[in-house]
């Protein structure tokens, strides 16, 4: 119910924002010295637990610091709905926010819209999925990236798995959507960890971040490569899908599975010993780090925008609170 009301309010805010576009209100908003700044958080799909956790973290931070800034949170319905996210950027610009903190649905396609926002004097901070550096350079744009090193995180998970395997063992990988930067980084991190340990990657396919797709693909890979010793999934939903595939292949006991993201559903499986490890990139804090960076830039426009690397921790059954 609360969400419904928040949703209604947000709609009203954005409609109101569009109306304000041509009115003098806009300039009043821009010299925000007498008024607390408005920060827009633009997320990917809020249906994805990772992003809803992130948004909740941001909302909590705002309620604790209500005197410092106002927050507008928006998400898109489908992770691949680029045009909706571009529209959200435009709506937030016309709503007169001082800063946009964005988890881009695509590392390239969002750049032009963010350039226009930046030209309108709005501070833009990039979180979660890194914007393409070459394109930013081409567009002559500096947007700070605040987020975890997904590659390093995946390497940690891969290393934890490698300790349980021997040299020469074979493993399978479930990748995310291949066009996404995070998916590529996690894939590379897994690969490097396996290479260092002398472990062979027998097969690696994308399961689109989804549980039931991962189940179908993992089952197929396990049948074709019964000698595989482990599955590395680029997120926890896919790890859960791999888990049910292992079960139906009768490999529940000996097949090792690792994931990424540390969603609450995986913690049970970690405790039961059905999943070996995952990585926590502190999703609830990611947006907060981005907001803090944006507030710093608003307070001191002379300061230079610097990238901030946020921590990624390895999570195993031992590291979970019992």
């Amino acid at each position: 119910m609360k969400k419904l009301i928040v949703g209604l309010l947000l709609t009203l805010v954005s409609i109101g924002g569009c109306g304000e576009n041509a009115s003098p209100d806009n300039s009043a908003n821009n010299n925000g010295s007498d008024q607390k700044p408005k920060v827009a958080l633009i997320m990917k799909s809020l249906a994805n637990e990772f992003f809803s956790t992130m948004a909740n973290g941001a909302e909590q931070h705002q309620s604790e610091n209500a005197a410092q800034y106002d927050l507008i949170v928006n998400g898109i319905k489908d992770e691949r709905d680029l045009s909706r996210q571009v529209a959200l950027v435009e709506e937030m610009v016309s709503a007169g926010v001082q800063a946009i903190v964005i988890a881009p649905a695509d590392s390239k396609a969002l750049v032009p819209a963010l350039r226009r926002a930046s030209e309108a004097g709005i501070i833009v901070v990039n979180i979660d999925n890194r914007l393409d550096r070459n394109i930013l350079a081409q567009e002559n744009l500096t947007i700070p990236f605040v987020g975890p090193d997904n590659k390093a995180g995946a390497q940690k998970v891969g290393k934890a798995l490698a300790e349980k395997l021997k040299k020469g063992d074979g493993v399978l990988i479930l990748e995310g959507i291949r066009t996404s930067f995070n998916a590529q980084q996690r894939r590379e991190g897994f690969q490097q960890a396996m290479d260092q340990a002398g472990i062979t990657i027998i097969d690696s396919q994308s399961a689109d971040w989804e549980m039931s797709t991962a189940n179908t693909i993992a089952a197929a890979m396990l049948s074709e490569h019964p000698d595989a010793k482990a599955i590395l999934a680029a997120n926890d939903s896919m790890a859960l899908g791999a888990l049910s595939a292992a079960k139906s292949a009768g490999r529940e006991k000996d097949l090792l599975i690792v994931g990424f993201d540390n969603i609450s559903a995986i913690q049970q499986a970690l405790n039961d010993g059905r999943v070996l490890a995952t990585a926590d990139q502190h999703g609830d804090q990611l947006a907060v780090f981005g907001i803090e960076a944006a507030l710093k830039l608003i307070a001191d426009p002379e300061s230079t925008a610097e990238d901030v690397e946020t921590p990624v921790d390895l999570i195993t059954a031992e590291s979970l609170p019992q």
Binding site: L46, E49, A220, G241, S264, A265
Partner: protein, 320 residues
């Protein structure tokens, strides 16, 4: 006489079975471990959700309707299942009836609104697609919820058969669906409504209850599918079955169901689902790259529909 039924049966299902046999042969040759009993069991055990959804969809298409909300109804009913267990401390036998109640109720709402107010089912079920998915997110707080082994029941393969109760349940819905369609007054009226609703009405039969019942039935089958989904993954997934409506419609059309209504066959739909599932599993087992998977899947859907059209021409338009 018997020979004739055999022949017509061969013609009716022959094209689809041919496609299926071709696919299985290709995958058996291209991979090392496809044509094995254990592998086929696993593929079969992956199919209950799409089968049950597609059976309901077949009836909806036959009466000339469409149900876009199926994926969301699968998710919402499975979320209800999860809530009973995690939040209300219930067990599976309390969760199942509530899960089924939610799905059926949503289907009933779809049917009632579209029939009572004469709004195209496309719009009403599109609305329900959004509504039920949103409700799922509220119910689960947009998080996947791990339920654990206690809910495995429907998915645990029977030791003497290797198949799960879920796939047997799905097969039962296919058989019952086909019998209802071909052997009952209800089924005949469904076909008649899809062919020419006006005529049915003029012959003194009220079509409304039939149309509403078909949508409620689709919701009911989605709820069964939701139960199967939870049993398979032992997790409530707020994004469960996203986009399954298109896969279900594709399976129906591959099986010769007309999008215009009046024509369809539940067994053919079932073979359509099997074709799509075998294709997905086989391509993954071959390790075909993503883009290739999509292109081949699209191609097979079109070819299968083409073969079915040719089959209809050959049988002189006899389609039932």
């Amino acid at each position: 006489m018997k020979r004739k039924t055999f022949l017509s049966g061969l013609l009716e299902y022959g094209g689809l079975v041919l496609v299926l046999v071709l696919l299985v042969s290709v995958f058996s040759l291209a991979t090392d471990h496809f044509l094995q009993w254990q592998r086929l069991q696993i593929i079969a055990n992956q199919m209950p959700v799409p089968i049950m959804v597609a059976v309901g969809m077949t009836f909806v298409l036959i009466i000339g309707g469409i149900d876009l909300s199926v994926g969301s109804l699968v998710a919402l009913s499975s979320a209800m299942f999860g809530l009973v267990i995690t939040n209300w401390g219930g067990n599976v036998w309390m969760a199942v009836p509530l899960c089924i109640l939610v799905g059926t109720l949503c289907g009933l709402i779809n049917g009632t609104i579209s029939v009572a107010f004469r709004i195209p089912a496309f719009i009403v079920t599109l609305g329900m697609l959004e509504l039920a998915r949103g409700a799922t997110k509220v119910a689960t707080d947009s998080r996947s919820i791990y339920l654990g082994k206690t809910v495995e029941g429907l998915d645990a393969p029977l030791p003497w058969l290797g198949l799960s109760p879920a796939i047997l349940l799905a097969l039962a819905t296919v058989i019952i669906g086909q019998l209802v369609l071909t052997r009952t007054v209800f089924g005949r009226y469904c076909i008649a409504i899809g062919t020419n609703e006006e005529t049915v009405r003029m012959s003194g039969v009220s079509t409304k209850p039939y149309r509403i019942a078909v949508f409620a039935g689709s919701g009911f089958l989605c709820a069964l599918a939701g139960w199967a989904y939870v049993a398979k993954h032992q997790t409530v997934d707020p994004n469960a079955a996203t986009g399954i409506e298109l896969a279900a419609i594709a399976a129906c059309v591959i099986g010769g169901t007309s999008l215009m209504g009046g024509r369809g066959n539940v067994v053919c739909t079932f073979i359509g689902v099997v074709i799509i599932s075998v294709l997905q599993s086989g391509l993954a087992q071959m390790g075909v790259p993503d883009a290739g998977k999509q292109m081949i899947t699209g191609l097979v859907i079109i070819v299968a529909a083409l073969i079915d059209v040719i089959r209809i021409r050959l049988t002189g338009g006899k389609t039932q």
